[in-house]
Subunit: 334 residues, 2 copies
């Protein structure tokens, strides 16, 4: 059995390497063809791993002495040659790993993917693509870009749509993924110049199932498989509904625990709330692939906990299993 | 007692004039110094008014024969001279009314405000500014622009901040309103060129309490009084959290009515849910002033019902009462 190997940069996220290791060990126990190369401070890693049970044939530790910090810029990728992020990227570049997962700083990660892993042929802009929870039980929606590039052209958005469609076919198993363009209104004349350019290009591209513009109001409705946006708009829209979800759930919790009678009544509904809260818990969709890179590269929230890292590692594993890079290459070449 | 007069364009919204009239009659009964001039189809208006009790000295009906439809463009403002929207704008221009409220089409309304009411001196871009519900019981937040202008410069955003600050002082009674800039990150270098320009201008403006960038995640947290944005970003952010709020509440409702036991338990918590749902119900903040116009001009959602129109009319009334135009003029002149 050929192992799927993830180079896991465990340094540089807000919560240290403990949740990262916990998540990885959990996924290793569930996926028997998964191998994890932990990249980071060997001493800390070994101390943590010593407390765990796992298949030693599928775990490796590579020591690094530097860390890309959250405050570091893109040039630190060139400066910190012995950082865990750079080392993990190099393992992927050199074919020792199939993919990288990191919870580290965003801008250096994007730069590192460009410099070390290189973009796919024909792609000039990369895009972060998380999978969004929706109220449609039969459909998840992928939203991109949510912040990798904030200055783009219409043709970049078309490329996003092509890559995301190939990804949705490969990973979500959707035959003809429906694509919409995030915009401030449904009419095709709406938005900025790049919206109108992208609209035209996508509408004319016979390999895409483009259904038109979509307002941000419907992102979580599960009306389409893929929503395309510039990184500025996508970032604002994503964080906006995430914030509302979190705030609304906390307001409901406060209202239900306001007095003892409510607390008692609410007890029997705990399961019902958990169902909804879990569905919209952004910890379960904390990961995003950086699309447009020639290798599989996943970023988890900087504040990831075990649950978040687990979700991101699982997405990384599924991207490897479904050979998404080959499929995207072929789609771009069409 | 001097009457505050609203010219109310009751045609052109999705639900016809019945909810509009219901809302106006309700507010007339609560505010004894309010006068409403209903502008629209006289026959329909009189038929509806005949079913109502109200102070006839504070109600007027002006007949118009045309309607600005939702599908109309900005040029229809010039073409449809006997439309209810144009007539209502002219009543304000000519001093027969202190303000206009409409649920009609957005683009023609913005154009009509520019052509007929004129912008404030020194203002080149107008901005829609709704008041946003927040989880902070002591603070409402005003978000602007949410879609009047999608191509702006840094200096336009500074003007938005100046006008919104004057408005917050006058209407919300906030002494030194705190202003933040909506952006994809907190660092001052983040975003597009206009963000960095606006950041600099607002930071250097001693009449503003500028606190820096804010991510869309925190819009509903009530951290500041005013959030400034370009109309593209503001529109995406606003509709994104509105959509999530609606979807999350409907998911919770579905989870709580999934079986008979849950239904019974949920019954006793109805009041708790109502509290939260009401707070975040966008019907209660369906109205937005168009800032930058030389008269008070309010737009309510095209799909406004009685509750929405009532909220928007009440905001219009409060803007008149607090003489916001004079105060904004003086703030711009500083």
């Amino acid at each position: 059995m050929e192992l799927k190997t993830i180079a896991f940069d465990v340094m540089g996220s807000d919560n240290g390497l403990i949740p990262a290791v916990d998540a990885a060990i959990k996924l290793l126990s569930e996926r028997k063809d998964l191998k994890i190369i932990f990249v980071g401070d060997e001493e800390q890693l070994k101390a943590k791993l010593a407390t765990k049970k796992y298949d030693k044939n599928r775990v490796e530790v590579i020591n690094t002495t530097q860390v890309i910090e959250m405050t570091d810029g893109i040039m630190d990728i060139r400066r910190k040659k012995d950082s865990s992020m750079v080392k993990a990227l190099e393992l992927v570049r050199d074919g020792q790993a199939d993919a990288i997962t990191t919870g580290g700083a965003t801008a250096p990660f994007i730069a590192g993917c460009q410099f070390i892993l290189k973009p796919l042929d024909g792609i000039s802009k990369t895009a972060f693509m998380p999978v969004i929870p929706t109220i449609n039980a039969n459909r998840q929606t992928m939203l991109l870009d949510v912040g990798a590039n904030i200055e783009i052209k219409g043709e970049d958005l078309e490329k996003y749509a092509i890559m995301a469609s190939a990804y949705a076919k490969a990973v979500l198993g959707v035959d003809r993924p429906e694509v919409a363009l995030l915009n401030i209104g449904e009419e095709k004349s709406k938005g900025l110049d790049f919206h109108r350019e992208a609209y035209q290009l996508m509408a004319n591209n016979k390999n895409l199932s483009f259904v038109g513009n979509i307002e941000s109001r419907y992102i979580t409705n599960g009306l389409v498989d893929i929503i395309i946006s510039d990184g500025y708009g996508g970032n604002l829209a994503l964080k906006s509904f995430e914030g509302m979800g979190k705030n609304l759930l906390s307001e409901i919790k406060a209202a239900l625990t306001k007095n003892i009678w409510r607390k008692i009544a609410a007890l029997s509904l705990r399961k019902a709330f958990k169902e909804v809260a879990n569905k919209f818990d952004y910890k379960n969709y904390a990961g995003a692939i950086l699309l447009g890179v020639s290798k599989i590269a996943f970023k988890s929230h900087g504040s990831s906990d075990t649950q978040s890292f687990f979700a991101t590692l699982r997405m990384t594993y599924e991207a490897i299993t479904n050979d998404v890079i080959t499929k995207m290459k072929s789609a771009i070449g069409d």
